[in-house]
């Protein structure tokens, strides 16, 4: 399959993370965060998701441009694998 899931998934997490982080930065110190134990959870978690999303996206892009990267195993027919006799 030549669509690496990490690319769309990374993209989605990056965009959602960025939205949350920007919104969190704008609303910093607002009463909104009384709910979340005083933490600006939008900013913090937005940044976490942004980093995760970027990492996924870049990993996906890297293995797309370097097809022999270890995350892609050769697509041989698995059912023809050699076996040793049983005991």
């Amino acid at each position: 399959m030549s669509l690496d899931l990490r690319i769309p998934m990374g993209l989605m997490f990056t965009i959602v993370g960025a939205i949350l982080a920007i919104y969190g930065a704008i609303t910093r110190g607002s009463d909104l965060y009384q709910r979340s134990a005083g933490m600006d959870i939008n900013l913090i978690w937005g940044c976490v998701m942004l980093v995760f999303g970027l990492a996924m996206f870049l990993l996906g892009r890297y293995s797309d441009t370097h097809p022999k990267a270890p995350s892609h195993e050769p697509a041989e027919d698995p059912t023809e694998r050699p076996r040793v006799p049983g005991h």
Partner: protein, 618 residues
């Protein structure tokens, strides 16, 4: 519920990506193998995460949070005892047969190992169960959307009647799931299950973090809850001294062996993701990879339930926003009683409840429901939704809600793809049209998606109309599933097992489960849907005890009868069973793997981790 633009934006983004993945995959769907088996070309980690995600549907997320709130840490047995050992077993021992036999589905494996009638039995019961399960997911999602008032503002601003929300939610989920499966088949379902896995983690991890921080961390949680909530093995010596109503034997044999092995090792819903892996090695690693996050999922889905109980209800002025009580299952959407109470009434119902868990309200009288001891009956199913509403400000609330909706959809999707495959290969190709072209089966697979979704929608409305249908369906599943594992166990590990024996054993096990249910009853229940509909000869302390013992009973009957009949019938010649039975199949080569790649070593690591977790939370 007050959703702002930012919450909607996150939700819409998710749906755009889900559909986008379907469209992107469409061009790769050239053969029925691409469509129904994901081309058998996916890496192990993707299949591994999809393996647990397929099971992480709505009932799982909402239900585990609810059980956490009701019973405490003991709920984690459903993960630790009730999943991990079975996942290890299927990866190490059973996957070489599923994958190596080239069977395209679990029923097809039964045909290769036994005969047509055993396959037909399994294919029919399984196909029926998948569409019903997917309908239940759809129904539960529509109910939750209604209870949380997600679309209320939108409907009011558009001038539409509020009682259309239920239909709108059903239609919306059906259309989205239909689109992405119709386009990208199993690959699309698996990719979206992985996406959903990460979304659930991203949505629930901050919930646990904020919740724990608010009540003073782990120590605060311990201090706020009764001691029994924090232990998983206390009182397991006798059924009367623990909340589940079962002793350690019933728990390990019923849940840990029969039910969990029956589900994780034979249910095509989860096995299909492992069979989509790109090699036999990957396929064996799939359940083992899945077991790692599975082991830690109690902290993500059960812990919020405990925190919900420990959270003081009236703080931060936020108490009015959590939902006070879900409408009863049987009410018709749109009737005044079906709209959950909010405002001053909400605070009143929350006061009658515990922590963030409201008391159940009688939909007719509007009064708090009381049990036989005069205590309010709590609506535990609202533990997780109320946690989201209580702790999440707008922004991340959109993320949490999206995670919840995603879990409902992927619960549906896995069922629909399993139905596709079993219908196309095991029923249509085997009994209706044997010699069509591959293009024809690809087309059949695609259009079966539409039919599967339509039947699911029908089921969702049937569930809506009948009070007890949900319980009935769960009951039928447990009766059909309980004896199944004995058939696979004997088939794979005893070459003498014959087709006639397997079929008779399976049918008798199912009948035995039905009889057991008709003759026993949980204490305090009336004969009927909960059991005892023939004649009550034994009482169990709880529903769960009845369920576990029923499974043990059905399994034993199937096992014993299959063995006895096998001894009296003619076995198949050994050369025919190579690749299907353990003792006759060459062992998979493992020389070229590093020590950490060998399934047996991963399995040992998992067992050590499992024991450690049980000791920490004993």
């Amino acid at each position: 519920m007050n959703l702002t633009t930012i919450d909607w934006l996150i939700m819409l983004l998710y749906f755009a990506f889900v559909l986008g993945i379907g469209f992107a995959l469409k061009r790769f769907m050239k053969t029925s193998k691409d469509y129904l088996q994901a081309g058998r070309a996916l890496p192990a980690w993707i299949c591994g995460l999809a393996f647990i995600s397929a099971n992480l549907g709505a009932q799982e997320v909402i239900g585990m949070g609810a059980s956490g709130a009701k019973y405490g840490i003991v709920t984690s047995h459903f993960y630790w005892i009730g999943a991990i050992p079975a996942m290890i077993f299927v990866g190490v021992f059973m996957m070489p047969f599923y994958y190596g036999s080239k069977a395209r589905s679990v029923p097809e494996f039964l045909r290769l190992r036994f005969d047509e009638k055993t396959r037909a039995w399994n294919a029919c019961s399984f196909a029926a169960m998948t569409v019903f399960s997917s309908g239940i997911s759809m129904y539960a999602m529509a109910r939750l959307i209604q209870t949380l008032h997600v679309f209320d503002k939108l409907f009011i601003s558009l001038g539409l009647p509020l009682d259309w929300i239920f239909h709108f939610a059903i239609l919306l989920s059906a259309v989205i799931v239909l689109c992405y499966i119709f386009l990208g088949g199993l690959t699309s379902a698996i990719y979206n299950e992985v996406l959903q896995f990460f979304l659930i983690v991203a949505g629930f991890l901050p919930l646990v973090w904020v919740g724990l921080k608010n009540i003073g961390g782990w120590h605060g949680l311990r201090a706020a809850l009764p001691a029994s909530y924090m232990h998983s093995w206390h009182g397991m010596g006798s059924p009367n001294t623990n909340p589940l109503g079962v002793d350690w034997f019933g728990l390990t044999a019923g849940l840990g062996f029969v039910l969990s092995f029956g589900y994780w090792c034979t249910d095509f819903l989860v096995i299909q993701t492992a069979m989509a892996a790109n090699s036999e090695e990957s396929a064996r690693r799939v359940p083992l990879i899945a077991a790692i996050p599975k082991m830690f999922f109690p902290f993500l889905v059960i812990l919020p339930g405990l925190i919900a109980i420990a959270t003081p209800a009236l703080i931060n002025g936020a108490a009015a926003s959590p939902i006070a009580s879900a409408p009863a299952v049987a009410t018709i959407p749109g009737t005044p009683a079906a709209v959950a109470v909010s405002g001053p009434k909400a605070a009143e119902n929350l006061n009658a409840g515990r922590g963030l868990i409201p008391a159940k309200v009688d939909p007719v009288s509007g009064k708090v429901m009381l049990d036989t001891h005069g205590q309010p009956v709590l609506d535990y199913d609202l533990a997780i939704p109320n946690m989201l509403l209580h702790y999440f400000p707008t922004g991340i609330l959109g993320l949490g809600l999206t995670a919840l909706l995603a879990s409902f959809m992927s619960g549906m999707a896995g069922n629909v793809t399993a139905f596709n495959t079993v219908w196309t290969f095991d029923l249509y190709q085997s009994y209706i049209n044997k010699h069509a072209s591959d293009a024809h089966y690809l087309k059949m697979g695609r259009w079966t998606t539409v039919v599967g979704i339509l039947i699911s929608m029908g089921t969702a409305y049937v569930v809506l109309g009948f009070n007890n249908i949900m319980d009935t369906l769960q009951l039928v599943f447990s009766i059909v599933n309980a004896p199944l594992f004995a058939t696979f166990l004997l088939g794979m590990f005893w070459k003498r097992t014959t087709g006639h024996a397997a079929f008779t054993g399976l049918a008798s096990g199912t009948i035995a489960a039905m009889l057991h249910h008709g003759l026993t009853l949980p204490l305090g229940d009336h004969p009927g849907i909960h059991g005892g509909w023939l004649h009550v000869i034994h009482y169990y302390p709880s529903d769960m005890a009845l369920n576990f013992w029923q499974a043990i009973f059905a399994f034993s009957i199937n096992f014993a009868l299959t063995v006895i009949i096998s001894l009296f019938t003619k076995p198949r010649p050994e050369p025919e069973l190579v690749g299907l039975v353990y003792s006759l199949t060459p062992k998979p080569v493992e020389h070229h793997m590093s020590w950490y790649e060998k399934p047996s070593n991963i399995a040992i690591g998992l067992i050590v981790l499992l024991v450690a977790l049980n000791l920490v939370f004993k």
